[in-house]
Symmetry: C2
Subunit: 254 residues, 2 copies
Amino acid sequence: MATGRTHRPATRSRGIPEATVARLPLYLRALTALSERSVPTVSSEELAAAAGVNSAKLRKDFSYLGSYGTRGVGYDVEYLVYQISRELGLTQDWPVVIVGIGNLGAALANYGGFASRGFRVAALIDADPEMAGKQVAGITVQHSDDMERIISENGVSIGVITTPPGVAQQVCERLVAAGVTSILNFAPTVLSVPDGVDVRKVDLSIELQILAFHEQRKAGEEAALTDGPRPVAATRKQSADKGPDGDVPAVMPA
Amino acid sequence: MATGRTHRPATRSRGIPEATVARLPLYLRALTALSERSVPTVSSEELAAAAGVNSAKLRKDFSYLGSYGTRGVGYDVEYLVYQISRELGLTQDWPVVIVGIGNLGAALANYGGFASRGFRVAALIDADPEMAGKQVAGITVQHSDDMERIISENGVSIGVITTPPGVAQQVCERLVAAGVTSILNFAPTVLSVPDGVDVRKVDLSIELQILAFHEQRKAGEEAALTDGPRPVAATRKQSADKGPDGDVPAVMPA
DNA sequence: ATGTCTTTGTGAACGCGTGCACAAAGATAG
DNA sequence: CTATCTTTGTGCACGCGTTCACAAAGACAT
Ligand SMILES: NC(=O)c1ccc[n+]([C@@H]2O[C@H](COP(=O)([O-])OP(=O)(O)OC[C@H]3O[C@@H](n4cnc5c(N)ncnc54)[C@H](O)[C@@H]3O)[C@@H](O)[C@H]2O)c1
Ligand SMILES: NC(=O)c1ccc[n+]([C@@H]2O[C@H](COP(=O)([O-])OP(=O)(O)OC[C@H]3O[C@@H](n4cnc5c(N)ncnc54)[C@H](O)[C@@H]3O)[C@@H](O)[C@H]2O)c1
């Protein structure tokens, strides 16, 4: 299997770099704050500081959108808000479904930040019959059986998966089959999807592990300056060094 | 089968690329699953498929840790689990505090995935006097007034911020002043921290906006070409491969 | 109009990450 | 011990993203 790979060289010349796309929402947020304070224009230096990025990077990012700035003055806030919103597709309404209304799904449903950017929670879906019919964040939870109909009727193209990891792939496939082409996955699962479907994942466990790595490094370097070069974290922790096996405590799909 | 031989992580461990660090938890998860199925060894090809990455990339990633594989055979699962865990600092216990016990904070507190990897919720902190004393996920919520004492007494170095955005910077500063050196921020705020403090950000709104961008682009291309109803795909691929994702893991360091 | 001053837009250099391709290492069989 | 086969470890090339540095563009004053 694994047919010949031939997708990359597509018409990317007109495309905005992925790294830039990922920063546009950041700029938009900073610009919105300025807009609310009725600031008319902003320089790349000021805006970059507000967004926490390098100013040269910001200017290059904006250059991909076009020449929207005025030299010697800066960027018109309102105009830039509009341009970025349009570029990101936020001038239209995006109906979103959340599948798996547990701790996390309910929290997301209750989150007000979605609607503020053109995202509308079109439906909450759960497989538990107990959940169906219940109100969460003012929305009635619907049963998985109706998933296809819900997606079709509401023209949903973005789905959020907050189910247990074991069923995430299966839920994903049903979403895609029903017409969803963008998925935000919170389950710690590697989703396999057809070409043309975008998946982004948010993995809290991975974030913490990355932090732990750097934390350990910091502790190790600190110890190296005072103690020996042994980075075996002796601080506030009983020994955990054992054989490579026999231990493995409470291992579970992280 | 003790493959134990010339294993020297030695000096190399100081230079692990950040991109590799971000993937180690992914490998660890796949390896843990294999371990539970008592699979003794695994090839880079198989493990790469399970983790959704390129096999050459995986081998190169592992090469930064040392030569833990056996040519002609593959990698010893248990041994690799141990090595990665150690490299990530997961062989020790990391006490974590969550600040802001609202919708999201409570969901995180209830999340079992924390403890499964050596992360222990040491305390839940909220500024609301109504919250103090209440039980969330079997843990008593404590008031912000005691933040410094809690962090000090528990030796907390990792903090999670799930407060409203307006107070996130202020909370961050108190955390850092109290000794926290790693922060996972869920508030849509650009945090400013001193050198030596790591910040990672999880921003749902940004994730959705990135999806919306690609969704709009897909719709545009579809309309521009003929009127193809939908992109039917024959070949399935790992979403983590490349795609518009490009491995921008919803997070940025600061 | 001319000059000065501010700030944009971008060419170019550089570094990092990715993936190919292959020699070497080691297992396994004869 | 030798041959063969499998799979690792990595040299290398390539492309993307970041950053510097500066010419050019425009505002503003005179
Ligand atoms: N809660 C967190 O803070 C957190 C953090 C990181 C990752 N996650 C991940 O997010 C996911 C959800 O976490 P949670 O804490 O909300 O879990 P949960 O158990 O509270 O909720 C899961 C929900 O999914 C529903 N469900 C199960 N199978 C389903 C199906 N086939 N179709 C539709 N719905 C189905 C369940 O009925 C339940 O309501 C998990 O994969 C978890 O690993 C959660
Ligand atoms: N809920 C979500 O799904 C979601 C999604 C994306 C981002 N966020 C962000 O996460 C944060 C929390 O969201 P939420 O929905 O849980 O909000 P929430 O209002 O439900 O909870 C916020 C909690 O923080 C507490 N708090 C306020 N000021 C505090 C302080 N100074 N110190 C300590 N605690 C304080 C409040 O008492 C409250 O309990 C927000 O910044 C939000 O933008 C939430």
